[in-house]
């Protein structure tokens, strides 16, 4: 009934230049550049037409996102001197636009490629460690991993777990985003085969709005987890850590 040949393999396959580790996914690069240019154009247009105090249309939307993320940063980090807001807003805008552009015919989400999401996640976690070292100092940064409990054996065991968790973090961050977008786009193709003539109705009425929603939520979750990881990484305690494990 449903076979692999019927479903378009377009979401699965990326055209590649080069070989092995140096292979470049052409469509991902192209769409990332498109997203970046689009964001710059939107930024310039909104900046030139900006009406302070009387926002309308696009400016209103962007101000909503910016103030939502600023509220999140202030809520999470308090008044600690960590200037993460601009980079976090940039990440949110990039990821959200990447998620949306895959729903336009002829484009694929750059986040539909595991390379993009792993790169973004490594960047985010790199940010966490950068701020962590800056807040605690190099010695405090290393010591933090081995300061969970009182007994020395427990410290070593939990410390190993903590270090391992630091390696797992970028991958959960990356795979969550990647699979959400990837499955969303693949299911568009699957629905096309499964429902036949009814598929435009179903896709248009349910799946594409749902994908927009998922794209928004996933971009927000990515940014929110980055902020809360930064928060965990920059907390300075004199005594033992109370909480330990965080969000995953």
């Amino acid at each position: 009934m449903l076979s692999a040949s019927q479903v378009s393999s377009e979401p699965l396959v990326h055209p590649i230049i080069g070989k092995g580790l140096l292979a470049i996914n052409v469509d991902t690069v192209r769409n990332s550049v498109v997203v970046a240019v689009l964001l710059v154009i939107i930024g310039v247009v909104v900046r030139t037409q900006m009406r302070p105090g009387k926002p309308d249309g696009l400016q209103n939307l962007l101000e909503y996102f910016v103030s939502a993320i600023r509220g999140l940063v202030r809520q999470t980090l308090g008044d600690r001197p960590i200037r993460i807001l601009p980079i976090v807003i940039t990440m949110f805008a990039f990821i959200f636009t990447c998620n949306l552009i895959g729903l336009v015919p002829g484009f694929k989400s750059p986040t539909n490629d595991v390379n993009t999401t792993v790169a973004l996640a490594f960047f985010a976690i790199g940010l966490v460690h950068f701020f962590s070292v800056r807040a605690r100092g190099p010695v405090g940064y290393v010591k933090h991993f081995f300061s969970m409990v009182n007994s020395p054996i427990g410290r070593v065991l939990l410390g190993v777990l903590e270090v391992f968790q630091e390696f797992v973090k970028p991958f959960t961050l990356a795979l969550r985003l990647y699979f959400n977008i990837f499955v969303g786009e693949l299911l568009l193709a699957v629905i096309l085969v499964l429902l036949g003539f009814a598929s435009p109705i179903f896709n248009g009425l349910f799946w594409i709005p749902f994908s927009v929603f998922i794209g928004l939520i996933q971009a927000f979750i990515f940014v929110m987890l980055t902020i809360s990881y930064v928060n965990q990484g920059t907390e300075v305690h004199d005594d033992l850590e109370g909480s330990g494990a965080g969000a995953h």
């Binding site: 969550r176 959400n180 990837f182 299911l187 699957v190 998922i214 939520i217 929110m224 995953h248």
Partner: protein, 85 residues
Amino acid sequence: MTSNGFILGMSAVAVGLLIGLGALGAGIGDGLVSSRVVEGTARQPEARASLLGIMFIAVGIIEALPIIAVGIALFLLFANPLVTK
């Protein structure tokens, strides 16, 4: 050396288990989150907006796991790496 038919059949079983169990777990999780949000809203109606925001984030994190399961399932269905061509 097992035949491609056997691999595909087993893959179909695996796809069913992946999607079914993933949906089961995520359903339970979503239900727990939503029920607590309803309770919280009933107790403190003015906290509704912030509770909804937190709920969507929590549900998004929970939903990621079955989505990953569905992704692996679709890989098994349409681009099975075990089948020898």
